[in-house]
């Protein structure tokens, strides 16, 4: 009985304690429900977003680059459909079999096979390996025909850069290719939009305008699992093609420049003397930028690199030449402006002058006799300019020369490889060479030799600024959002207000006129150095100045031998230069021509101008009619 009553008392204890637990249970369950409520109801949105973030992954596709067009809207850097072959390793049944089949179909090299195997080891199995970046149509068809036997291979149609005019614009446009790691890191836009297989500008405008041309990525959204494997595609967001860039260049003229300089090393620049538009800018020899798109072959690269005519150098902007006699208009102008000489001032040329025991030769051994400014320009008499330079002094000459753009970059920031050139003065020599200026150096500076160095584009701009009546222009190669018309340009020049534009470069308008007339004589009057290259038709008539730049000091013996061009080793031959503008009656265009080691300017460079001028003037009407067909903002 005691036992049973103890049992009952025990049951009471158990029941009481159970009651307490029951209450605790309810509280705990309520807490769990509250937690569920807070996660699933209150914070549902947050966790839904996180869940989507988990399962949705975006794949960026390479952006489509903007087109670059010439002044007339012809595409000079565009995009082309290319056919590629990718392999997705995880879909391949038998990797080695597939490689053997592809090797036979596409004639892949052993090296290529080894590289594919290496990539396969490095990449995730769902990442595609690019077997061939650029298949021919027939290869693409072949692959598609055998696709049943090529499990895991994926023929892909994609877009690639294309330069339809091949080598014509290489030095202007540059080219695109695979970026290096450093290049990706250096450009934030590239870094953001980079996807494997994307190409970026490596040179020229393609490089400079990368951020405008690049375009935005197309985005594909996929549902992925926890291991990153794509399960299914959700949506596709189209990318925006990069900005279209319109250049001031004229493909017809640019092409002709290339033809005129074929087999020669040199450069031609053509410029609108009022607007500063660069009509053509060709450096010869050039090379095909399309070769770089899918990785240039070693042989082809060696061929370009080892070419003695140096196709890799953009001679228009980075080629530094002594201007030779093409500097004479500036020397004469400077002398006139500083009232050192006048048109009546005469010098007797005997073929050479002596100064402190040093002999300075005129190119004409017998001498020109008594010459005035006009005559000296016409016949390019060196003795006259030795004397004028002596009277003028290098510092005053330097001021005029720099005003006309020598020793400064012409296009500023657009080309990384543009060089400043050099127009010396006494201060420069002291600072850089640590020695005092010698009078003899003034003399040779007067005929464009010595320290003086200029790029072909500088000479072109110099000529343009003489041609337009002595006003500063700002050369440009890109049609910007405020294209300037001829009338506006002329009006601005007269107003003499705006900094950099319409800035008068002369003291007396008359002096410019004298120089223009002298350049006219040089081309269009008997005994003028480029008389043989003249065009009599006033529509095309142009004025110019030849130049012959020595590349080495001519020894006495050589001078006596008076060798023919062909007898001199190529490397030692003079550079031939020519600057000109026209039509003379109503000037519009200026040009500069340089033929490296071409001999004399009158024989090698001026005839090219004759061939080119007709085209330039004929194209003028078309150019005038070409509307500013769209606003382009950069």
């Amino acid at each position: 009985m005691i036992k049973s009553s103890s049992g009952i008392r025990k049951a009471d204890v158990i029941n009481r304690r159970m009651f307490i637990i029951g209450a605790a249970k309810i509280i705990v369950f309520a807490a769990i429900v509250a937690r569920l409520f807070s996660l699933q109801i209150n914070e549902n949105k947050k966790y839904l977003t996180l869940s989507d973030k988990n399962r949705i992954r975006e794949w960026k596709l390479p952006p489509t680059r903007g087109n670059i067009v010439d002044y007339f809207g012809n595409i000079i850097a565009g995009n082309l459909k290319v056919y590629q072959l990718h392999i997705i390793p995880e879909q391949v049944e038998n990797f080695n079999y597939l490689l053997v089949r592809l090797k036979n179909l596409l004639n892949l090299s052993e090296k290529k096979i080894a590289r594919i195997n290496k990539l396969k080891a490095e990449l995730k199995p769902w990442d595609s390996i690019i077997v061939s970046e650029n298949l021919t149509w027939s290869q693409f068809v072949k692959i598609n025909n055998y696709l049943y036997d090529l499990v895991g291979a994926k023929p892909v149609m994609t877009i690639s850069r294309n330069y339809p005019f091949k080598d014509v614009y290489t030095h202007v446009l540059g080219y695109v290719s695979q970026p290096s790691e450093q290049e990706i890191l250096n450009n934030q836009t590239v870094q953001e939009r980079f996807v494997p297989g994307m190409k970026i500008g490596k040179l020229g405008l393609e490089k400079k305008l990368e951020n405008y041309l690049i375009g935005t990525n197309a985005i594909q959204r996929y549902e992925v699992n926890a291991y990153g494997k794509r399960i299914n595609q959700l949506e596709h967001q189209k990318g925006k093609q990069g900005a279209k860039i319109r250049l001031t260049v004229d493909t017809e003229i640019q092409k002709t420049c290339g033809e005129l300089l074929s087999d020669k090393a040199g450069s031609i620049s053509v410029m609108d003397i009022y607007t500063g538009d660069i009509i053509a800018m060709y450096s010869s020899p050039s090379y095909d930028p399309n070769s770089f798109l899918f990785g240039i072959s070693k042989d082809e690269w060696q061929l370009i690199r080892n070419n003695p005519l140096k196709p890799l150098i953009n001679k228009t902007l980075s080629g530094l030449y002594s201007p030779g006699s093409t500097i004479k208009p500036i020397v004469a102008l400077s002398a006139l402006e500083n009232n050192v000489v006048d048109t009546k001032f005469k010098v007797k040329c005997t073929g050479k002058i002596e100064l402190y025991g040093q002999t300075f030769h005129c190119w004409k051994e017998k001498g020109h006799g008594w010459v005035s400014l006009n005559n000296a320009m016409k016949q390019s008499c060196d003795t006259y300019f030795y004397e004028v330079a002596r009277l003028l002094g290098v510092d005053r000459l330097n001021i005029t020369a720099e005003k006309f753009g020598l020793g400064k970059k012409v296009l500023g920031d657009y080309f990384d490889n543009e060089k400043k050139g050099l127009f010396p003065n006494t201060k420069w020599k002291k600072n850089n060479l640590g020695r005092g200026w010698v009078l003899g150096e003034t003399l040779i500076t007067g005929i464009g030799q010595g320290y003086i160095q200029s790029t072909p584009l500088q000479l072109c701009m110099m000529t343009a600024q003489i041609a337009n009546g002595g006003y500063a222009i700002k050369p440009k190669i890109i049609v910007d959002d405020k294209p300037i018309s001829l009338e506006d340009a002329k009006a601005l020049m007269q107003e003499d207000i705006l900094e950099g534009f319409g800035k008068k470069l002369f003291k007396d308008e008359k002096n410019i006129k004298i120089i223009q007339e002298a350049m006219f004589s040089s081309t269009n009057e008997r005994f003028g150095t480029s008389y043989r290259s003249r065009i009599d038709d006033p529509k095309y008539q142009f004025a110019g100045k030849t130049g012959t730049a020595q590349v080495k000091r001519i020894s006495k013996r050589e001078r006596e031998l008076d060798l023919e061009l062909e007898q001199i080793p190529y490397k030692d031959r003079d550079h031939a230069l020519y600057v000109a503008y026209g039509p003379y009656a109503n000037p519009r265009y200026a040009l500069s021509i340089i033929v490296e080691h071409g001999g004399s300017g009158s024989k090698a460079a001026a005839p090219i101008a004759k061939k080119l001028f007709k085209l330039i003037i004929d194209r003028h009407d078309l150019r005038n009619k070409q509307p500013n067909f769209e606003e382009i903002s950069i």
Partner: protein, 374 residues
């Protein structure tokens, strides 16, 4: 055996069937069906390995539960200590010859299936202590000897389980044991004292923990500390549950589990998948179902005449409750991750076997609730 029982208690087999607790049975059947659907979902909407095995286990263990229910509660009382000792022997066997897997040694191969004796201990400890307190005079409950005895009963299996190592199961065994002490009438102040002693010694306990266990605690305190490493499970589980919302993403549409973001989705994180697909409504529904089961067990305990049955039922009800709470708190980010399955729902034979045995004994108590045990 049946013959013997019937003679003793004058209960026929039909009466036994009639006396079964049908609300409990239906709830368990319902839970089993839900668990099969969820398992089907973890297999990605196909009847694969886990679904098949889970089904087979249910088909074996559910009849086993009914079979065990037909034994008299007196019989269970009589073999309680033997069961306890048997499971201790299994634990010893496992600690020497057990199968190793991912760094712990908890399993023994029975050829038909792999048994985890520590799961059985969760029930055995309740049986053993229920019998001990049933026999103990109420006056002796708070004596030094009795408390030492029950603590020894609890600590011996825990030593084996913790050395496997298996922190989760040992905590559950300890809690299951302690609840019987509580129900048996051990003074409240002892619980309070030992709770404070536990708090004070916590730093020492932590210093004995394995590095991965320490990491789990740290991760629990701040899951974003290492979101791709240790915190990954908690974060992904919370994302899955949270993104389920009110109605859930729909059956077989749980992206977190379907796309393999959920870890251990068959076992410890099964609730996460369920909650992602069926939402708040489904989760609360599941909790209600579990509550019904717990309440039924408590009711069976309270109508039982014997204190053994009463203690076992109350203890077991609490154990089930604790399993659920620990598991849910873990997947909801309220507790550190300790391996603990959700009864019936989680994939795993031993856990289901132990749960079904427990239900079987509860049903036996129901059938024989008028039975007095001397």
């Amino acid at each position: 055996m049946f013959q013997h029982d019937r003679l003793n208690n004058e209960i026929t087999i039909f009466q036994k069937i009639k006396n079964l607790d049908y609300i409990l049975l239906i709830s368990v059947i319902l839970l089993s069906i839900i668990s099969l659907f969820v398992m089907y979902s973890t297999d990605g909407g196909e009847i694969l390995f886990h679904t098949k095995n889970h089904f087979v286990k249910l088909m074996v263990f559910f009849p086993l539960m009914i079979f065990l229910a037909f034994f008299n509660i007196k019989f269970w009382h009589s073999i309680s200590y033997i069961i306890y000792l048997l499971v201790i022997l299994l634990l010893i066997y496992v600690s020497f010859f057990g199968i190793k897997s991912s760094g712990s040694q908890r399993w023994m191969n029975l050829y038909l299936f792999v048994l985890q004796p520590s799961e059985l201990m969760k029930v055995a400890i309740i049986l053993c202590l229920a019998k001990y307190y049933h026999r103990l005079k109420i006056e002796s409950v708070n004596t030094f000897t009795s408390i030492i005895v029950v603590l020894t009963i609890i600590i011996i299996p825990i030593i084996f389980v913790i050395s496997q190592p298996d922190l989760g199961t040992s905590i559950l065994i300890a809690l299951s044991g302690l609840i019987i002490l509580w129900l048996g009438g051990v003074k409240i102040k002892y619980f309070i004292y030992s709770f404070f002693t536990f708090l004070i010694s916590l730093p020492f306990i932590i210093s004995f923990l394995k590095p991965y266990q320490k990491l789990r605690i740290l991760t629990f305190l701040d899951p974003d500390r290492d979101p791709l490493g240790a915190g990954y499970q908690i974060i992904q589980s919370k994302i899955a549950i949270g993104s389920g919302g009110l109605n859930g993403k729909g059956f077989l549409k749980g992206t977190q589990s379907y796309l393999d973001f959920l870890p251990e989705k068959h076992t410890d994180f099964i609730f996460t998948l369920f909650s992602e697909e069926f939402g708040f409504i489904g989760s609360v529904g599941l909790l209600i179902l579990y509550s019904i089961i717990i309440l039924r067990i408590v009711r069976i305990g309270s109508i039982s005449r014997s204190n053994f049955a009463r203690l076992f039922c109350f203890g077991y009800a609490f154990a089930i409750f604790i399993y659920i709470v620990v598991n849910l708190s873990m997947v909801l980010g309220l507790l550190p991750i300790v391996g603990s399955p959700l009864p019936i729902m989680s994939y795993g034979g031993s856990s289901m076997l132990a749960t079904m045995i427990g239900f079987g004994i509860v049903l036996s108590a129901k059938i024989n609730h008028k039975q007095i045990i001397a």
